[in-house]
Symmetry: none
Subunit: 216 residues, 4 copies
């Protein structure tokens, strides 16, 4: 990813902004946030360090913008997919959600940052904007969820928040760094191994089942 031209037009600048966001998200991978340096991102972008700061005033702003983008896009995609699905069952629902998340590696990498580092270093305005976006998308998507599953009122939001929590926790358990993966490969440690998509799907299925049962 090399960008040499000057982004003079507004649309070029937006494009560059997004390009940076994508590079940043991909640079993170499963690494620690602190290990990703602005210098590295800049280099991968083919830009100078200073240029990054033309687009984002701090490292945190850069990453929260990346998360914002990914998150909004995921909510939209999920809502659309569920809408196409129509009335459905817990198993299918779990599958669809798990698959949509498993295919969005960068989102899943970014998500744990939110509470871990980003929220500790952003200003009120940024936080407010982000949280509002989150709330809007969440509520909108929750309505769709309640449309395709027979849940109690308010359980759409609840289910999505639980999904969020589950994703953060599961991802960390299912995708260890190579050194740990090697250790986990030993037969006696087999019970500690998890497949992200499969486990998320199963968990959601069970969870939805449990949330529906209450109904009667």
């Amino acid at each position: 990813m090399v960008m040499r031209l000057r982004a003079r037009k507004e649309e070029d600048k937006l494009a560059r902004r997004e390009a940076i966001l994508e590079v940043a998200a991909r640079s993170l991978g499963r690494r620690q946030y602190a290990r990703v340096t602005m210098a590295e991102i800049a280099e991968r972008c083919g830009l100078a360090k200073g240029t990054l700061y033309l687009y984002f005033s701090t490292k945190e702003e850069l990453f929260i913008a990346a998360l914002e983008l990914e998150l909004a896009s995921w909510f939209d995609a999920l809502a659309e997919e569920l809408l196409k699905l129509g009335r459905t069952d817990p198993h299918t629902f779990g599958d669809v959600v798990a698959k949509s998340l498993a295919s969005r590696e960068t989102l899943v990498d970014l998500l744990p940052l939110l509470h871990t580092v980003l929220e500790q270093n952003i200003d009120t305005d940024t936080a407010l904007r982000f949280k509002r976006m989150l709330r809007d998308k969440l509520v909108a998507c929750a309505a769709v969820v309640e449309h395709v599953l027979p849940l109690h009122g308010g359980d759409g939001v609840r289910l999505l928040l639980r999904t969020h929590a589950m994703v953060v926790g599961l991802r960390q358990m299912s995708d260890p760094p190579p050194a740990i993966a090697e250790v986990l490969a030993r037969p006696e440690l087999h019970p500690l191994q998890l497949d992200f998509e499969r486990e998320l799907s199963d968990t959601l299925t069970d969870l939805v089942r449990g949330m529906m049962k209450t109904e009667e």
Copy 2:
């Protein structure tokens, strides 16, 4: 917490070790791992920085040992409590587990570190020892879980891992730093607010309900 004496005997050394672990765990709180410095821990212990390195060879070893301690103790306590409980229902189970976790702040603070930073910086031996401990406790506790709840075989382990995942995710969502808490206090952002214990309890209840054998 000030320790000035020399720990000459083996038992003194162990006591000091644990004292350090406790201080470390409490020092973390809801802060970023990177923000907790070895200097700070040393000072709180009333020890010199160098002394910490007599007991733990790196910062990561120190924190993983702290987690190990907390985790083992929790598994044991939970197993015991469930055993006392005997055959039970999803709701009670959820309550018991949630309460036992909510009362162990330090464990809950430490848990997210495991995959986020600790596993990225420890050597194979430490990892192996930790994972083995985890497996042992997990399997033992899972047996108890399957004893008190009518689950399918293997679902005890599964439920505990899901609980682990849930705890990591939920905690981060339910205990934001003050600046974010303030933002979340706005009425329109109310849906994003969560109470850790209550939400964990409810989620586990629903999850267990969904996992239980249909008792036909």
Copy 3:
């Protein structure tokens, strides 16, 4: 101060040049030179950063030109005023000079830069031009000074140079940044507080008295 039009004619360019100089001088205030950025000056001018470089090839050139303007204008004004005054006494002289400087904040802000930063970063040509201007004005003004005060030959120049030195030193002592001003407000630190104009006037009065021919 916004300038949007293109400066096509030579006179327009000169006008713009001076407009920039004025903005620059005013931007400095009592701040550190390093804290005044070219970006800030450009913005205050309503110009782009690059445009500044069409008029001045470095930041230092810009500021030395600003100083040059202020200084020349001050010398001229002072000479004129003294001429109007005619033969006078030390006290009146001190008053007049002090008042004329106190009313030229930007000059007084700019003056300490000369030796502190500007002279460290300008090329020989600029230095030569500046120094020649200074010499010319200085000598001319000194002649007037010797006309209104009974000084020994050569003491006009000497007095003006001493005034220059005094202004630089006094200004820094009499106009501290707010945080320091607050500290100085304490009663026990009262002896360290100075009023620029008053102190300059008194000092010059005393100095002239000491330099005057003993009128035997």
Copy 4:
């Protein structure tokens, strides 16, 4: 100046502290404060950058401490010298003061920093401590000045403050960087050349004369 040993004893630490201060002051010379880097000072000390921060928490603290040291020592030395002198005349006084300052290059280099950068970047506590020291020394020295010269009450402090101002201004005019010195060497610019000690001495002589004259 290379220091390799560890300063374990309090007195060693103090010695090292002062060694650093001296290196810092000497590193400044007639250069811009911003051009002196912590890295350079560290290297000249034969220390690591981090070590500097064990002794001074910021660059500003380092330089203000250096100034404090020099200033206090100068006031003491001057007071002592004047005391030895006993009742004296303006000319001798000017000579003594000028010589004592001319022999303290580092003090004279440091002095202009006080108002230019240091006071813009220090916290209230440091400022207060510094100003109190300054006041104490100033008042004490002023008493001696009034003892050796027939001045009005309060004129001792006034004279010393004027001296301070004069020093800052004169030094900058009398010791230009080489490039400027070369320019000033031209015959027509001769009036702009000053010798620090001589000019300071003469100015003080005249100033004191003027301050005494008022008397009658």
